[in-house]
Symmetry: C2
Subunit: 379 residues, 2 copies
């Protein structure tokens, strides 16, 4: 028995046409709001006929539930947050695409915030997302452990992407495995004197790639590899400088493994400037398979990282953490990389051909028509 009539029952909507509410639908269908809610969420028992009436009413009123009211009530927003640093555009968009696709399939929305330079700014953003999202995917490859722990204290499921990961949920590229696979490829071609161009000291990806390189060098029983390492910072310029230093080495390395593609492109340019022929005199390989890797001359052999897959995995992990907070056990998944063989490496110690010109023209043609040869290119 109502102690007071429902205040919202009859004359709503003042002047400008407001959106229909669940009360409007209930009135139109001649049922209570509870029944409308039940029908629309499909969880409980409702007579088939009643259900039809409600659906018809909802459709005729173009009813769309108010998500704010819904999340307030169920304390879930069906939205996840993505926090990114000011990262290279291509990578950035691919990660978002991967997460977006996976999320939409599960009825989740994504709230994006990019371009954060420092940890405190990152934490600020995370705070403003509080309540707006059910969980976070955070990418912070250069951030040290302390702020990341702070982040976990935010009492919200968080999945870290490519970050230094002491504990908790995380997804990373299999940098170590990829580096070893690349080294195996070079070794099979006959290389043993392989140089390496390092990435930034504190970058998690860079460290793992270096670790893979060193491990492989030890395994090949080669000379101490430290002399063959060059510093770099993931930029093309640093690769250019490294290439110059490597070309001057005596004896010269027969192959160069750059910790990422940008630096490999720089190495390529400086070797060409120094008159060192690639791949005849020296092989060059990179890591990432960025889009321009296939456009440089010669096209770059590299380890492809499936970035969209990275996003998909991150969402899957986050969803599990959100859905089963009780039983969820923190996990650290690694996504595999793929070797992409192009033209920038061959067997060591091959004499350069005398008339390289027509040869090169042909290469450029192939670069230009990328799509067709690209299909069967992956090995």
């Amino acid at each position: 028995m109502p102690s007071r009539p429902d205040v919202r029952s009859n004359p709503r909507r003042r002047h400008r046409a407001a959106a229909a509410t669940i009360h409007d639908v209930a009135a139109r269908a001649g049922v209570s709001v509870a029944t409308v809610s039940r029908v629309l969420n499909g969880k409980e028992l409702v007579r088939a006929e009643t259900s039809r009436h409600v659906r018809a009413a909802a459709k005729s009123l173009r009813y769309v539930p108010n998500v704010a009211a819904r999340s307030l009530s169920i304390r879930r927003s069906q939205t996840i947050g993505i926090v990114l640093p000011d990262v290279h555009g291509e990578f950035f968009s691919e990660v978002i695409r991967g997460i977006d696709l996976a999320a939409r399939a599960q009825g989740y929305h994504i709230l994006v915030s990019g371009s954060h330079s420092d940890p405190s700014q990152m934490l600020d953003v995370v705070d403003t997302m509080r309540g707006r999202v059910d969980g976070l995917v955070v990418m912070a490859p250069d951030v040290t452990l302390a702020p990341l722990d702070e982040l976990r204290a935010r009492a919200m499921p968080v999945v870290l992407l490519n970050s230094a990961t002491p504990n908790g949920d995380a997804i990373t590229i299999d940098n170590y495995g990829g580096a070893r696979a690349m080294m195996r490829h070079l070794h099979e071609l006959g290389h043993t004197r392989i140089a390496f161009v390092r990435g930034p000291e504190h970058n998690a990806d860079a460290r793992e790639r270096l670790r893979g390189y060193r491990h492989a060098m030890r395994g090949m029983a080669a000379e101490s590899s430290r002399a063959l390492e060059c510093s770099g910072d993931f930029t093309e310029e640093s690769g250019f400088a490294a290439g110059r230093r490597l070309a001057a080495l005596n004896p010269r390395p027969t192959a160069v493994f750059a910790a990422n593609d940008s630096m490999a492109v720089g190495v390529l340019a400086s070797l060409m400037a120094a008159g060192v022929h690639v791949p005849e005199q020296m092989s060059v390989v990179g890591f990432d398979d960025i889009p321009i890797a296939r456009y440089v001359n010669p096209a770059l052999t590299t380890m492809r990282v499936d970035i969209a897959e990275l996003g998909r995995c991150a969402f899957a992990l986050l969803l599990d953490a959100i859905s089963n907070p009780a039983v969820h056990a923190p996990r650290h998944d690694r996504v595999a990389t793929t070797l992409v063989v192009r033209k920038s490496c061959g067997a060591p110690n091959v004499r350069p051909k005398q008339n390289a010109q027509p040869h090169r023209a042909e290469r450029i043609l192939k670069n230009g028509r990328k799509r067709v040869p690209e299909k069967g290119e992956v090995s």
Copy 2:
């Protein structure tokens, strides 16, 4: 006089530590929830001392307002939606970056949804965003007018990006002006026989660029330009095919203007394959300034589009529409483009040098070290 005690007053929070609410803060500060709200939103008069107490209480409880409750109450989400087609990654991420930066500065969040192939899917997404966002930035360059009008009927501020725009708010690239500026550049170099590679028939950007080309050709009092137009669809392959046709023309055009950079890259590749030297025998220019434009050989002269600026403008316009729904008048803004002169065009009818090799090596070096020369490159 309370007809009934406030039910939420005392014993909240059952077992797991829930986030603090405004009631907790009020209790801690010894004031009412209204006062807390006033302090935190800073709109109304509150004694300085009271304000201090409230702030201290909020901080000590790590209070973060529940945004769902807030948006339900004020009927605003402080969030805008971005709906994108499955567009090239670089463009995609730049648009988001531009909007994100502008939005965050105004305290807005962004909800992103990409990868929509058809109009109905796009409208679905827009419906699920209903109530979640205060307005939308929609990019749909290939969508025809009808669905766009449907979109506007959604009773939410909408800003269209690079779309066919009959009416309503919109931001577009100044494709027409950019095309004319490019034509002026070619004309100043001495070209009059300029070919054009068109984009997709129904694409709004492509049509405007074509319009600029035709207008300029008429202005140059050149022969009827239709014979110099080639069809294309914005892909590299179509550019390759167009280049082949153009090389076979007699008399040959002295310059080719491709409606976008991807096609220009294709043209470049096919001309090289046909033994036509660029820029000595034929100049090639594009539109967009995509990242690889500076890596191709020779580096491509093109019209740069500041995509982030596009995003900024879109947000500014949307914010105005959201904030002043009454007085806001629909606007259609155009963002300017910038001519970027690189190596792919020169004066017509110059004989190719005999030993192009050292010359080319030097070019590649410059490409490799992009950043430094890039600084002063824009004209």
